[in-house]
């Protein structure tokens, strides 16, 4: 479908289309964006699935992510190695989950991953503190941050273990009306 050269075969595009929330056109555009990030690294020809990964530092500089306080966490949660190096598949995956069409359940799973800074499968007080500091950046005093953390965990924790498991998180998110619209990046 490329103009001069084929970037993907039709089959590949079909596969992408079936597995993500993007259309062929958008996949091609995404490839363009991915290529832009590291022109020397990323080949134009993807027909034979080259094993290329773009490091976190480059991805984080995308305008869509640049100002996001959770940019590093987003990229890390979607990378296969957990360190933030994204292959093109991971890259597409990331924007697919963050797209408008992705269902709440899927978004919730990845949102949980993003907010779980220390990757222990729970959002504990430290995770929440980090989240808050990123969210507000000097708007709140440290005491207020601690207070908010305590209250938030108290509110959302259903099983009383003083941290949020995914069940707690999902339960809370299901009551947040604007989660679907806020957890969304337009590409």
């Amino acid at each position: 479908m490329g103009n001069k050269q084929t970037i993907f075969t039709d089959e590949q595009l079909d596969a992408y289309q079936d597995c993500t929330f993007f259309t062929r056109k958008e996949i091609l555009r995404l490839h363009g964006r991915y290529h832009e990030l590291a022109p020397h690294l990323v080949p134009m020809d993807y027909t034979n699935d080259p094993d290329v990964k773009v490091p976190l530092a480059l991805i984080v500089n995308m305008p869509e992510l640049k100002e996001n306080p959770f940019r590093n966490r987003i990229v890390e949660s979607f990378s296969e190695d957990g360190k933030g190096n994204l292959s093109f598949n991971d890259f597409v995956d990331m924007f697919s989950v963050l797209s408008e069409m992705a269902p709440r359940e899927l978004k919730a799973i990845y949102a949980f991953k993003i907010y779980d800074f220390n990757v222990d499968n729970y959002i504990c007080k430290e995770d929440l503190e980090k989240t808050l500091n990123r969210l507000t950046k000097e708007e709140l005093t440290p005491e207020e941050v601690i207070l908010v953390c305590e209250k938030a965990i108290e509110e959302a924790d259903l099983d009383g273990d003083n941290k949020l498991s995914f069940a707690d998180f999902e339960n809370m998110i299901s009551r947040a009306p604007d989660f679907l619209s806020t957890f969304h990046i337009r590409i």
Partner: protein
Amino acid sequence: MDGRVSFDADPVIDFESPADEDGVHDSFSQLIQEQCHDLHDVIEMTPLDLEEDSRGQITPQPILARNRPLRQEVTSDSSLTDLCVSDDVECLEADSDAPQQTDHLIGERWSSDTLKVLSSMPSRTIGRSRGAIISQYCNRTMQLRRRRQSRPSIQHFPRSARPSIRGYGVETDAAGFEEEENKRDRLVNNLQNLSDSDRVRMLRAMPLSLSEKKELRMLVLNKAEHSVSQNQIPCCSQLKYYIIIALRHGWYGWLSFLSSLQLWQTALKCVGGRFGTGVLSYFIFLRTLLFFNVFLFLVTGLLLVVPQAITHPDQDQNITVRSSWGLEVLTGAGYFSHSLLYYGYYNNQTLQTGHSCSASGNGTSCSSGLSYNMPLVYFFTIGAAFFITCIILVYSMSKSFGQSFRIDKSKGLLAIKVFSSWDFKVIKKSSVRLQRANIGTQLKELVAEVNRQEQKFPVLQRLFRLFIHMLAWIMCLGSTLACVLAVYYFSEHMHGDLRNRTQAASSDPLLKEASLLAVPVVVSSINLLLPGFFNVVAWMEKYDSPSMLNYISISRNLLLKVSVLGVLCYHWLGRVATDPQSLGLECWESFVGQELYRFLLMDFIFMLLDTFFGEFLWRVFSQKALKRKRKPVFDIARNVLELIYGQTLAWLGVLFSPLLPAVQIIKLLFLFYMKKVSLKMNCQASGKPWRACQMTTIFITLLCFPAFLGATVCVTYTMWSITPSAGCGPFRGLKNMFQAGKRWVHRLAAVNPDLHWLASAHSYLVENPLFLFLCAGIFLIMIYFHSQVVDGQRKIIELLQEQIENEGEDKKFLITRLQHIHERKRRVTPRPVKGASEACSYS
């Protein structure tokens, strides 16, 4: 202690699965069950286990174990020694990991059995859906693969996406690769059994990495090719697919277009970011009012003003254009009094298009051509506009009631704010800063609300405070009463004055016009000054909760405004309308319309003055003269009530002056920008941040209950029982405006005998008050039921929350009991062979 029993029943529960997903679900339940069984084969590594295992066992040989090429597969019935040797590596690897995982989970050291039971609890395992199970499967394969590729230290691995399933984190990969292959096969089979669109949907919604998904898809497709003949209608389904995509795109485009239509979004964001939700609610309310007026304006403009404007009025009005233009804009009299602005200009004819037959008042009706019965249209337009406004108001009121109750009662607001308030779409630096400020302010408000404790005062102090409050209320009520009386007598005096002037025809017309402005000026200055007085009184009272302060201030201001408006309505409908001849008025409706126009305009001018003097000069004064650092705080209650007052005037005036909503629209537009600028320049965010989620509800309620209801009552009264003036307007010659409908129906029945039933229906349904009472009664009952339902829901929510809390307590209790029993058992039989094998059987 077999936890399996609890499992097989539970995982199928899916709270959110829509009806059409049942099929999908069934095909996955098997997989889920599989996973659940699997859970028991998981080893749970805790320090306790380590101790237990190493105690009196073969010493671990990590080097030997690490050199083993492939992990030995361990089944649950493998022998004890075998298990412990093969697991030593895991123990060591997980060593650095396990304490971190467990120690902040539970402060105490639970026994492994308890942990096992814990980890298999439904709340941690039911995946509200297969999504979690699948992702878990994915993570396991991923980890397995990574381990096979290289063996980095284990703690860097990201944990599974289904984090609530404990145990998987430290599971042994001895579960085996083959098993994973089996699982994948099953997954592929499941996917294959689905229809095309379902498969695509499933694939997309799986929390797997894209490469996994692609592999799965390939497998599914390959299998499909081998086994079943390809589905015959790919083209058709493709087409359907494209159509659906196109429709969806169109829908999303439409949605984004709609959201881009939302007025003043950036301005509102800016205000909300800097001043918090309280001030924001004022601006949102202003916007709501603007929409109401736009609606009214569109209705009256399209149905009344445009048809009237394109037909020439038959009688030539000898308009004497005088030069006092400036004054006319203020008073709305003079040139304007014979214009589309007022009731008097509209005629009572049936406008005809097509045929040129002259239709005089009581009609030789034309048989063909489009007829436009002005009185009827006037009547029904006003009626319908009020009715629709009423419905919108009641609807938005009930909606916002529901919302505020939900927000009010349900917990988890803080957590929701923290996790779902960041808008990931925002990419501009300035907006990011704004968003930060906004979230910070909102969190502060929430925390402030949580933190406010009830203060206890000694009895004497409480009595004193009670006395102060009583005194304050007496002062406020007294001053309100005084103002109302003043308005009453002053309007009476001005009424008499006007009568004298008209009788003594020699008086200066300019002065006469100017004297019309006296009452509006007095009323507006009362509206401006008295709230200031109320504020001083409230300051004296020293309320400690800002929302309480607001409620008090709102109720006092409301009382003032309602009573003043009541007196004015009496003045217009009681004095002017009943005796228009004494004022020499040909058309009292136009006069009342002019009065309302004057009040609206005066209100606006006084708001301008208030903004300039009250906010700007006060800020300058307090900063320069008083050397205060702080800027004044925006008074939400007073400003909102001023808006409500203006809107009531506009609603009252629609009948008498169909273009009044346009004036109100202009006023509101001005006001928005003025207040925004003034806010930025002169005010600062309130020192005590408070949450204003119920504020919008209260504003809407106030708008609905005293304001709109009062206006409706007045307008209905006018239509029903006041004789319209004989010389002007669409209803001339009728006993009341209401008769327009009746006359039309009778005429219809006379022309067409078949429609005779219409006349009787009209007389029974519309003229008979019983029917109207019935309608109103039904309406009220519906509102009542609705409120009851909301109330019931609230109660149920409370009960459920309580139940959840109780369940949590139960769980804690059971866990401690369990732990207790295990410990006792261990103490009695230190390490029986049977028990040990049971303890290890989860590996």
